[in-house]
């Protein structure tokens, strides 16, 4: 028997992207495409399948091995190929190229609730979902009480799940998945769903699974969870494995990867059409303390936000500012470059030219999460030169933030490092 639970070699996956004419989605398309195809027979080239712009490689030449009992993290930006990789490992889709071997049953917490039917009762759904996840009936019967207890739905077990609260629904779904006992467990971003209590349960279950010597693949955007649960991590970027290293090293590299495409926003002429020609925004950037333009910043280090812009005329009383918003639309703060009376005095009038207004966001201010930056350039109550409420999104990571020894999500958009004292009043 091999010592590896998973071993894949040069796995690649190609997807077609939506060029309507290329992939017939209706019979009419098929018929028109058929006519075109006849004309193309004479100039067909076999390589075309791989190089034409209608196809993209979601994964390219991915190779790695996972030992039995190892807990491996997988990180990467959206679209880096994480989900595709998991789909291939769980055999939902076939690789386009390459070869792999998996030893043991693969269970995954990304399938929580798949196949649940709202009309059926909790009891019926446990059996149905269990069968879909690959459990045998006797196995489900044996674990039935345990599943119900874990889910805490209790006396509602014979009620159709469409009458459940969303919390009950999730808990029941998770308990079924959690009792699957696969040799290989794949966890994809479970931390993104459910309340804090539910997330704690997920993490706890993952720990149990890892301690039992099972193999775990853990995919997450949450670097602190990756750091806590895994020893080794793979970094995926644009469908390729760019790094495999001990987790702290890999996470560090991932956070500092030159992901310049994100973390910076430019405006096209089209977007600026109709705006005031006197003020031209050039770029909005988020930088980490080392000056790199990044998509993900670490809250504990602080970061800076800057707007580079061109003034084509002299403007007096101009102020350039940022709004920070959560992705749910709550404002965190608003700040302007001339808030400080000193700067306000020295920049009462700005002559035409190129400027950068940069603000330093102090360490331990923002909570982890995804945030939205808005930009505003105006003269108070006179004229708005430029405004973009959704200019750029970026991620704040909680690594090293206060209270990280508890694996929970903190409520609220800020996570300040506050001064606590504990007094013993009486012993």
């Amino acid at each position: 028997m091999s010592d590896y639970a998973i071993s894949v070699e040069n796995i690649s996956k190609q997807y077609r992207i939506g060029l309507a004419q290329d992939r017939p989605d209706t019979l009419r398309d098929l018929l028109t495409a058929g006519v075109r195809k006849v004309g193309r027979i004479f100039q067909s080239n076999r390589e075309g399948r791989y190089s034409d712009p209608a196809h993209i490689w979601a994964l390219k030449d991915v190779s790695f091995k996972v030992e039995r009992g190892q807990v491996l993290g997988i990180v990467g930006r959206n679209g880096a190929g994480k989900s595709t990789l998991l789909k291939i490992l769980s055999r939902v889709t076939n690789p386009t190229e390459g070869y792999g071997e998996i030893h043991g049953r693969v269970g995954s917490l990304l399938e929580v609730g798949t196949g649940f039917h709202p009309e059926l009762s909790g009891r019926e759904n446990i059996y149905l979902n269990g069968a879909i996840l690959g459990m045998r009936r006797e196995e489900i019967t044996r674990k039935f009480d345990e599943i119900v207890a874990f889910s805490e739905v209790g006396k509602f077990i014979d009620t159709p799940v469409k009458r459940y609260s969303s919390g009950m629904y999730l808990r029941l779904a998770f308990s079924v998945a959690a009792h699957l006992e696969p040799e290989i467990l794949v966890v994809d971003e479970v931390l993104a769903v459910g309340d804090a209590e539910f997330q704690r349960k997920c993490l706890g279950k993952m720990n149990d699974v890892a301690n039992e010597g099972r193999t775990v693949l853990f995919v997450s955007h949450n670097m602190s969870a990756i750091l806590r649960l895994t020893q080794e991590t793979i970094v995926l970027n644009e469908g390729k494995v760019v790094m495999r290293a001990p987790t702290p090293e890999a996470v560090d590299a991932y956070l500092n990867m030159g992901l310049t495409k994100a973390g910076e926003r430019n405006w096209s002429e089209g977007e600026l059409a109709g705006g005031d020609p006197g003020f031209r925004p050039i770029a909005l950037r988020v930088r980490n303390p080392r000056g790199q333009v990044v998509d993900t910043v670490v809250a504990a280090e602080g970061f800076s936000v800057e707007l580079e812009y061109q003034l084509n005329e002299d403007i007096s009383g101009l102020r350039v500012g940022f709004y920070m918003m959560t992705t749910r639309g709550e404002y965190v703060f608003t700040t302007f470059d001339t808030d400080d009376p000193g700067l306000y005095e020295s920049f009462t009038s700005r002559p035409a030219g190129r400027y950068i207004s940069r603000v330093q966001v102090p360490p331990n201010l923002m909570n982890e999460g995804r945030y939205l930056l808005g930009v505003n350039a105006s003269t108070y109550r006179i004229k708005r030169y430029f405004q973009d409420d959704k200019a750029l999104t970026f991620t704040v990571d909680a690594t090293g933030a206060p209270g990280m020894h508890w694996p929970e999500k903190r409520l609220g958009p800020v996570r300040p490092d506050l001064d606590w004292k504990i007094e013993v009043v009486e012993k």
């Binding site: 894949v8 989605d25 939902v92 076939n94 998996i102 798949t114 009309e119 059926l120 069968a131």
Partner: protein, 286 residues
């Protein structure tokens, strides 16, 4: 060195080795794997039936009422008003004996052809043999059929018709109807994954197919000879003719049943081939 072999209990799944590789061309059907997933097929069938009659006051009684009501309509229109010949059999019995296998086929076909798209959330998230889905929808139709069979027995008692030994052929004829539905269902469900036009066509197809089968009229209406043979290319002709013969007597199915059987075989093998060929891309395009 046998003493070195570990003594611990190895769960059967630990030795399970899965190979990931590009799917190429014709994959043979893994019946062993399908067998391992038999409980999934059972639960999917069970779900289809359960969900169909949930929150309906009459519940499973609908499986009985539907053929009964159709028989009444057919009897009034074709039997009483149009005076369609019925081989000397009372018209209600004549049409019901054909309606039952027909509805088995029609509902199996209807359900299986939309089954893959209806279960797309499963297809895109979990691996299991994809054949389980159309199979389960066909079994669900079979359960409906078995329940509605009670109606036929009732009507037969009413008209005092007692089946002879020929009735032993019924299971085989039911199987033939199911295989026909499966064969066409495999084609249509796989096509429907990519071309949603299919689900628009299916109700129409079923309607045309019904009039192309000897349900409201006797098979004798079709002139014997070459026309009857061509007519027999419709597998349901053999099934329905066989059903009437097995239950009510009359002309035994002749060459039509052989032609029907051969037709089913061709459809089934090609359907399985097409299904397996398309299977690997279901999750990507559904």
């Amino acid at each position: 060195m046998p003493e070195l072999i570990e003594n611990r209990q190895i769960p059967e799944t630990e030795n399970l080795v899965t190979y990931l590789k590009p799917a190429k061309g014709w994959l043979s059907i893994d019946f062993k794997e399908l067998w391992r997933y038999r409980e999934l097929i059972y639960f999917l069938t069970w779900r289809d039936i359960k969900v169909r009659y949930k929150q309906a006051v009459l519940g499973i009684a609908w499986a009985v009422l539907q053929p009964l009501m159709t028989t009444v309509i057919f009897t009034v229109i074709f039997g009483t008003l149009l005076k369609t010949p019925s081989q000397g059999i009372p018209y209600p019995l004549f049409s019901l004996s054909a309606l039952l296998p027909w509805q088995l086929f029609a509902s199996a076909l209807q359900r299986s052809s939309t089954s893959l798209v209806g279960n797309s959330n499963l297809l895109t998230k979990i691996y299991f043999p994809r054949l389980a889905i159309p199979l389960a929808s066909i079994f669900a139709a079979l359960v409906d059929f078995l329940i509605s069979f009670v109606v036929l027995i009732g009507v037969m008692i009413y008209y005092q018709y007692w089946p002879g030994w020929n009735a032993l052929w019924l299971p085989l004829l039911v199987l033939l109807a199911l295989l026909t539905a499966l064969a066409v269902g495999l084609w249509l469900s796989a096509l429907n994954v990519q071309y949603r036009d299919v689900q628009q066509i299916v109700p129409f197809l079923i309607q045309v197919w019904m009039y192309a089968s000897p349900i409201v009229y006797p098979i004798e209406t079709i002139p014997a000879g070459i026309w009857r043979w061509l007519y027999g290319l419709n597998p349901m002709v053999g099934v329905i003719q066989g059903f009437r013969w097995a239950l009510l007597g009359g002309a035994p199915p002749d060459l039509t049943l052989v032609i029907s059987g051969a037709m089913v075989l061709i459809l089934l093998v090609s359907g399985l081939y097409y299904f397996r060929r398309m299977e690997k891309t279901f999750a990507d395009i559904v």
